[in-house]
Structures are given as structure tokens and as C-alpha cells.
């Protein structure tokens, strides 16, 4: 019965799309229904809000609504306004420096941790280490920043250590030179355990026969790691790296807002904190339109980086997102 409908459907396929859809529906009904909530979610929360982006080209007033607010002229008014901002270059520089350092040191850290954990023979010890490294991830950002602040105080932990070695302590958050270090180290400390999970999962999928074969060939542990484990991890690493590059401009504003103070604005003020200040100004109405324009600009940079990294990895490693 089924076979006959199929053979009959063949010529009809070229005729009508609706027929094909109807047929597909009758065949995959349950799959469609299963995906429906996700589709609704995507439409409601990812596509519909995109309409709001038009306020980047308007002078948006809360009470006038998106449609009621007048267009700005020229259309790039808010973008120009941002590019001409006295802080523009500083924001760009700080964003890329902090983000770049986080990627440079923060990205390999969980991979190294995963590789090291993989080498541990004792399962008990492995689990203890894993639990300890996960833990900071579950500390709330506010609490974590308070801890950092207290450690960095003039009479805090770091100062005490430095003084024990004969140096003079200081408030390390008042000194711009230390801020990137504090930012990146605390980031690694908080995320290393959590981020290593995905690599640990990938490690389990590497074919054990490869190891055995390599051992037969006389490979030592270091060679096993560089010639079997790492190549096996490579696709995961590449995908994670591309995704990470797609977030290069997105530095979490929470952590910086919680940590910075006026004496280190020059190294810590980034695009996202600037957007935050526009949206929650100390006086006057929030500049929603300008904040949206900068957000859009941000996303464009992110997309460019994502595409570029993807292209590069396709060229060199032959694994890529799309």
C-alpha cells in the first residue's frame, strides 16, 4: 500500500509544493509537532524582537512606542554619534584587549585541564579534582566580585602575601596595570572546570583501539597525547573556538561593573559597560536608540569574526561550523 503511493507521488513531486508538504506532514507528523514549541520559541524570542532593531534608526521615546517615534536623519545618526564619541577608541581597545586576553589564556585552559584529567589513573582523585574545579562556576557573580574586591584591598589577601615577602601592599583594583590580570585570572578560575566538561566528553569518544595501536608502535605518553588525544579533540576544539570568536565583542558587563572604579576606567571601560551606562543613566532618559545602534554594531563585528574564523578553519583544518 505504502509502496504504491510512493511510486505514484514521484511525478507529482515536481508539480506541487503543497502536495509535497502535505505528504511530508502525513509521514513526519509527530516530528513536526515535537519541534513546534521550539519554533514558537524562536519566533517569539529571537525573530519577533528583531523588529525592535528599527529603533537604532529612530529617536525612540518610551511613551511614543516603536512605530510612533520619529526616524532620525541621516539614518546613521546614532552610529555616527558613537563613532565620534570621545571614548570610542578607548572602548574598542579595551574590549579587544580584555576579550583577546581572555581567549588567549582562557580558551586553552580548560583543554589543558581536560588533558591532564585524562591522564589521571585514580578515578577517585579525578572526581575530587573535577568537583573542586567546577565549584567556582556556581558562585554568583556578585559574590565572586565581592570576594575579589576584598582580596584586592589594601589589607586584603594579595597585599598580605606581598608584604610577607617584603613588598608593599596596595589596593590592586586601583591600579590599572593589574586589572587585565585580575579579570582574566578570575575568569579562568571560575570557568575552567565547567568548560572542561565538553572536552572530557569528547575524550571518551576517542577510539581506544587507536591508543592500543599507538602503544604497540612504541609511543610514549607524551606522544599518545599529541598524536592521538589532541587530533581526536580537534573538531570539538575548532567548533568551540569558532563559537567563542563569534562572541569576541561580548564581554559580560556585570563583572566589570562590579569590579571597576573611576581610577581604572581607562583600562576597564568596555562597549558593554558603555551600553549599560546609556541604558541606565544617572540622569535623564535612557538613550535606547543609541544603545540599540551600538548593540547592532557589536553584533556585526561578532558576525564578521565568526565568519572569518569559520573560513580560516575550513581552509586549514577542514572542520568548520558551516
Amino acid at each position: 500500500m505504502k509502496k504504491s503511493t510512493k511510486s505514484k507521488a514521484q511525478p507529482a513531486d515536481r508539480k506541487s509544493l503543497s502536495y509535497r508538504l502535505a505528504k511530508d506532514w502525513s509521514m513526519n507528523k509527530w516530528k513536526y509537532i515535537m519541534i513546534l514549541p521550539v519554533v514558537i520559541y524562536l519566533i517569539l524570542f529571537c525573530y519577533k524582537p528583531m523588529y525592535g532593531l528599527v529603533i537604532a534608526f529612530k529617536n525612540y521615546k518610551l511613551t511614543r512606542g516603536i512605530d510612533g517615534s520619529p526616524w532620525v536623519s541621516p539614518w546613521y545618526y546614532w552610529f555616527q554619534n558613537f563613532f565620534e564619541d570621545p571614548y570610542f577608541w578607548r572602548l574598542i581597545k579595551n574590549t579587544f584587549v580584555l576579550s583577546g586576553l581572555t581567549i588567549l589564556f582562557g580558551f586553552p585552559a580548560p583543554i589543558i585541564l581536560a588533558l591532564l584529567l585524562n591522564e589521571i589513573k585514580s578515578n577517585k582523585f579525578k572526581r575530587v579534582v573535577q568537583t573542586i574545579t567546577y565549584m567556582p562556576y556556581f558562585i554568583s557573580m556578585v559574590v565572586m566580585c565581592s570576594i575579589i574586591k576584598i582580596f584586592c584591598q589594601q589589607n586584603g589577601l594579595f597585599s598580605t602575601i606581598v608584604e610577607a615577602f617584603g613588598g608593599t601592599g596596595q589596593n590592586y583594583l586601583m591600579n590599572g596595570a593589574y586589572f587585565p590580570l585580575i579579570y582574566v585570572l578570575s575568569d579562568i578560575w571560575q570557568g575552567i572546570g565547567w568548560n572542561s566538561i565538553i572536552y572530557l566528553a569528547a575524550l571518551t569518544s576517542i577510539d581506544q583501539q587507536l591508543y592500543e595501536a599507538a602503544k604497540v608502535d612504541g609511543a610514549n605518553r607524551w606522544q599518545l597525547m599529541t598524536h592521538v588525544t589532541l587530533p581526536g579533540l580537534m573538531p570539538t576544539i575548532v567548533v568551540m573556538f569558532i563559537l567563542r570568536m563569534g562572541n569576541i565583542v561580548n564581554i559580560g558587563y556585570e563583572k566589570i561593573l562590579l569590579l571597576y572604579n573611576p581610577s581604572i576606567y581607562n583600562v576597564s571601560d568596555v562597549i558593554s559597560t558603555y551600553i549599560y551606562r546609556l541604558s541606565f543613566p544617572t540622569s535623564g532618559m535612557p538613550l535606547y536608540s543609541k544603545a540599540t545602534a551600538i548593540g547592532l554594531f557589536n553584533s556585526l563585528i561578532n558576525v564578521v569574526f565568526l565568519l572569518f574564523t569559520n573560513w580560516l578553519s575550513k581552509k586549514t583544518t577542514e572542520s568548520s561550523l558551516f
Partner: protein, 567 residues
């Protein structure tokens, strides 16, 4: 079939959840005036409500009959005490319904939400705004009036809010602040009965016990302060430290140098009026002298290294560890410090310190204000004309003699009664309550709101040491109130100024970076990262102010101020 049902149920749940999230999470409380709220106070308010009903005020008799139902959003101030689930448990909010006879549908920002942003979400949907909104709308009032978001109350005010009208007429300053440049009344304001005493609620504080131990006099001038700091440092290893945020940032000790601000720049702070001219505090040489002095203290190690990141919470460890002996805070925080010290068994004695003057007695200004709040209460266009009239009468209540007592103390015989001195006194219901600020369960005027705050309320709320501190900070020239007014309020950017829509737009756009710029420069000059005494660096700073559009900002503000003065 069974599976189909389940799956569609899941899909439906997804959609429902989505729509619930999409709608804003207004914490709405629906209450009928006669409904039982379940709170213990319900019966008591009922009893006294009947007694009060015979009272007549102005031409309006409360409770009103035939009142329309009114919805009311309050951003901050008279919100239910944190120990209550919602307004239906709050004696003040249920009581107000009883007293006025108006059914009120209350809403407030969700606990934990940023109140300002919460108000923004409401503003973004003008069609479903509550009828009455209490928040901060002065700067954009003209736009709201022109866009027909809020009611122009001018034709109705005198008839439907006679007590409020009387109050406005009692003082030309009040009247001036509560309307737009073209004379449209749009708002109910917050006023302090004392006319500004409590606007000087923060200032310098000092360890009295240390002063006595060292045999030092209470410091009065900047040289005295420097000397005290040196002695404290030598003897106790203590330095100057203060919460910057909300406290030190506004004024600091700038007045002693003839300057008019510390490092805070926003709608009110940073700008001042001198001889009818709007000026910028941080562009003046007086401010430079002030910072030069601070920088000297910093170099000598008399200021705590953590100073720039201190706030009300972090300062406490310094206060209780005896690592600071001279600070700057508010009377409320002073209460807290002393309370915590007593609980820890510490022997420290913090007192309010007189305003510090220059060595020649210079004092240009102190932290203060005119006794008029920036919080305003407006009636939105979601109210039809009849509802608007009810809202007017409802709001008028707070300014009537009877309503004044209710808003400040609650119901007589329940939360307060007349004391021996003939002044209202909170009963044991309030005084024995161990919650924070228990009077806010029964009254609305403790922080702000559309009302007149009684000075007596503040006397009852605060400890003796805090009240004395406030006296010390406010009465700079107790024998010459004219001179006192000059330093406490007359220099300030006035409350109630309204910008035109174009002005507000331009200011919002061009002045976003200025606060950051000044903050940063302040930190750099203070710590010596930039040398305040170097003319080239100072010039670079003042030139930088121009890149941040200072001249244009001052020009707009001047125009606006001139219009305000002509009202």
C-alpha cells in the same frame, strides 16, 4: 490519541509560558475597600476609619462617596514594608482605601527589580498605564503633557484638590516647582515640613571618644581636620575613609574651599547657580584647590587606599575595625553604625561634626536642599475625566489636616497617639517592633511620596545622635537663617525645572559621558596619577570638559533656568 493530547498540551504550555513571560510581571494587588484583607490591622483600621469619617477637610469630605476605582503605581517611597507579601497586608495601603473611600488597585516594582527600569517598562505601554504614577517625571513633563500621556491638571486642581492648592499657594517656591514653564500644573509633589532641615541629612562624622582621648577640640577648619587626621593616624593607625557612592560623591568638603561639588555630575549635582548664572562646579579654580588639598592628604597617607571603591556596606568593616576615625555619612547610616557597634560591644562614639570651613571661615555650600522632592505623582490619560477627578481628591487627602496625620503616622489610637507635649507619638505597636523602620508599615511619608513629611516624624524615627548630627549639619549659621539658606539651598539647581522635549533630547545625547569623565579625572587627581598642581594637566582637564560639550550643556541649562525663574 493519548500521545497527541500530551504533545499538544506541551505545545500549549510552551505558548502560555511564553506569553506570560512576554507580559510584564506587574505585581498587582486587587483590593476592594470593604474586602477583608486578612491582616491583623484590618479590624482596627475599620474602627478608627469610622471615627475619622466625620472629619471634613477643605471642601472635600472623606471618605468619598461614589468614588471611581483608581489604579496607582508607586516606584519607591510609600511601598509596602518588606515583611509584607503585598499591599493587601500593609496597614498603610489598606488603611488609605478606608480613609479615602477610594478603591485602589496598587502596583509596585517587583521586589529585587531595578525600580527605574521597571517604571520604564510601564511607560513603554501608555495604553495600559495605571491611572496614577508616582516616580520621577519632572525633566520630561512637557513631553508627556504634549503627547497627552498625562493630565494637565490646571483647570481641575483648585476644585478637586483644594487642600493641595492651598498648600501650593502658601509658598511661592512650592507653586513654582509644581508646574511647567507655561504654567500648567501636572503633579503632586513631596515636601518636607521643615523646609530643608532633613535635606541636609548627610555630612562629616567623627569619633568623639578619640577626640576626647587625645584632648583635641572638635575640628572646624580644614587645618583642624588635617591635624586631627595626623593625630588619629599616629595614635590609632586610622585614616579618613568614607562611602563614596551616594554620600561623599555629592559634596565632600568642597564647600570649605568655596567650591560647589565633589565629583558627582547628574541632573542636579555638579551644577550650581551663582548670581543667576548656571555654572559647572568642576570647572572652577576653587575645585582645583579642593582637589589639591585632597591629593596632599592622599600623599601623606591620611586617606584610606580603598577610598574610591567604598560604599555603605564596605565602609562598615573600616568603621568597626577602628581603621577610620573621620568619615562622611548620612544620619540613617550613623544610626546603623552605632546600633551595630552597640551590638558588638564596641565602645566607639561617632557624632556629627560641624561643617568644615576654610581657615578664613569660607563656606560656599553644604549638602542640602529646598525641602521639595524630585519625586512626583502624575495622573495619566488612562484615567477618564471622572476617574481623574477621583484621583485628584484621593491625592488631595495627604495635604489635608487629617490626611497629613494619616500619611505621617497612620491611624490615631493604633500606630500613634498624642503625647504629653501635644505632638503625635508612635505607640508601642511601632516602638516595640524590631523590624527595620517599622513605622513604614503604617505611614507613607517616611521617605517620600505625594505628601508633606512631618519633622516630628523624623525626630521619632531617628536616634538622638542622628538628630543632633542633622542639626549640626543644617544649622551652619543658626542665628542668621538667611545666610543659612544661602549655603544650604539657594546655590542649588532648583527642583521642578522642566526641559522642552528638544532640550531634553539634546541633553540626554550630549551629556552621557560627562559624569564618567569627571569621575575619572577626580580619581586621577586625587591619587596623583595626574598632577592637579600642574597647570598643563589642569588645562587639559578643562579643555576635555569642552570636548564633552560643557558649554552647550550650560547654555541649555541656562535657558531653562531663566524660564524657570520667570514662572
Amino acid at each position: 490519541m493519548q500521545v497527541m493530547k500530551r504533545i499538544s498540551a506541551i505545545a500549549l504550555m510552551g505558548a502560555l509560558g511564553a506569553s506570560a513571560l512576554a507580559g510584564c510581571n506587574t505585581e498587582k494587588v486587587n483590593m476592594e475597600s470593604g474586602g477583608s484583607s486578612g491582616a491583623a490591622s484590618a479590624t482596627t483600621t475599620q474602627a478608627s476609619g469610622a471615627a475619622a469619617s466625620s472629619g471634613t477637610t477643605g471642601t472635600i469630605t472623606y471618605p468619598l462617596t461614589n468614588a471611581k476605582k483608581v489604579s496607582w503605581y508607586i516606584q519607591d517611597g510609600p511601598v509596602p514594608h518588606t515583611s509584607f507579601k503585598d499591599a493587601s497586608e500593609s496597614p498603610f495601603h489598606t488603611g488609605l482605601i478606608k480613609q479615602t473611600g477610594v478603591q485602589i488597585d496598587w502596583s509596585f516594582p517587583t521586589t529585587g527589580a531595578d525600580a527605574n527600569s521597571y517604571t520604564s517598562t510601564i511607560l513603554a505601554d501608555p495604553q495600559s498605564m495605571p491611572n496614577i504614577m508616582t516616580g520621577y517625571f519632572m525633566n520630561n513633563a512637557t513631553q508627556y503633557l504634549d503627547d497627552e500621556i498625562i493630565w494637565d491638571l490646571t483647570p481641575y486642581l483648585q476644585e478637586y484638590a483644594p487642600d493641595y492648592w492651598k498648600w501650593l499657594q502658601s509658598n511661592p517656591d512650592y507653586d513654582k516647582a509644581m508646574k511647567t514653564d507655561d504654567g500648567r500644573y501636572y503633579t503632586f509633589g513631596f515636601f518636607r515640613e521643615d523646609g530643608g532641615w532633613n535635606d541636609s541629612y548627610q555630612g562629616p562624622v567623627i569619633r568623639k571618644d578619640w577626640l576626647d582621648e587625645c584632648g583635641l577640640e572638635m575640628p572646624k577648619t580644614i587645618d583642624d581636620v588635617e591635624n586631627v587626621l595626623k593625630v588619629f593616624k599616629e595614635k590609632y593607625g586610622a585614616t579618613f575613609d568614607a562611602p563614596i557612592k551616594n554620600r561623599w560623591e555629592t559634596m565632600g568638603l568642597a564647600g570649605a574651599f568655596g567650591a560647589y561639588g565633589n565629583d558627582k555630575v547628574d541632573g542636579t549635582w555638579g551644577y550650581y547657580i551663582k548670581d543667576g548664572k548656571v555654572q559647572f562646579a568642576m570647572a572652577q579654580t576653587e575645585w582645583r584647590n579642593y582637589l589639591s588639598w585632597l591629593n596632599k592628604l592622599w600623599d601623606e597617607g591620611l586617606i584610606d587606599q580603598d577610598f574610591l571603591s567604598e560604599d555603605d556596606t564596605t565602609i562598615k568593616s573600616k568603621v568597626h575595625n577602628n581603621s577610620t576615625g573621620l568619615s562622611y555619612t548620612s544620619m540613617g547610616q550613623l544610626n546603623v553604625w552605632m546600633k551595630e557597634a552597640a551590638a558588638n560591644g564596641e565602645t566607639c562614639e561617632w557624632v556629627g561634626m560641624p561643617q568644615v570651613t576654610g581657615n578664613d571661615g569660607t563656606l560656599s555650600c553644604v549638602f542640602g536642599g529646598p525641602g521639595i522632592g524630585t519625586q512626583t505623582t502624575v495622573i495619566t490619560k488612562t484615567a477618564d475625566e471622572e476617574t481623574m477627578k477621583t484621583a485628584l481628591q484621593l491625592l488631595n487627602y495627604a495635604y489635608s489636616d487629617e490626611g497629613f496625620l494619616y500619611w505621617n503616622y497612620g491611624v490615631e489610637g493604633v500606630s500613634w497617639e498624642y503625647g504629653d507635649d501635644g505632638k503625635p507619638k508612635f505607640t508601642e505597636l511601632v516602638t516595640n517592633d524590631t523590624d527595620t523602620d517599622p513605622m513604614t508599615k503604617y505611614n507613607g511619608a517616611t521617605w517620600s511620596g505625594p505628601d508633606i513629611q512631618a519633622t516630628n516624624l523624623l525626630y521619632q524615627k531617628n536616634s538622638k545622635v542622628a538628630i543632633e548630627a542633622n542639626n549640626t549639619w543644617y544649622y551652619v549659621y543658626p542665628d542668621d537663617m538667611k545666610k543659612n539658606d544661602a549655603v544650604t539651598k539657594e546655590w542649588k539647581w532648583p527642583v521642578g525645572i522642566t526641559f522642552t522635549t528638544a532640550e531634553a533630547d539634546e541633553l540626554d545625547t550630549i551629556s552621557t559621558d560627562l559624569p564618567t569623565y569627571v569621575d575619572e579625572a577626580y580619581a586621577a587627581f586625587l591619587t596623583g596619577a595626574k598632577n592637579i598642581n600642574d597647570d598643563a594637566q589642569w588645562k587639559a582637564f578643562t579643555d576635555g570638559l569642552e570636548t564633552h560639550n560643557l558649554s552647550r550643556i550650560l547654555e541649555i541649562r541656562q535657558a531653562c533656568y531663566d524660564r524657570y525663574e520667570k514662572r
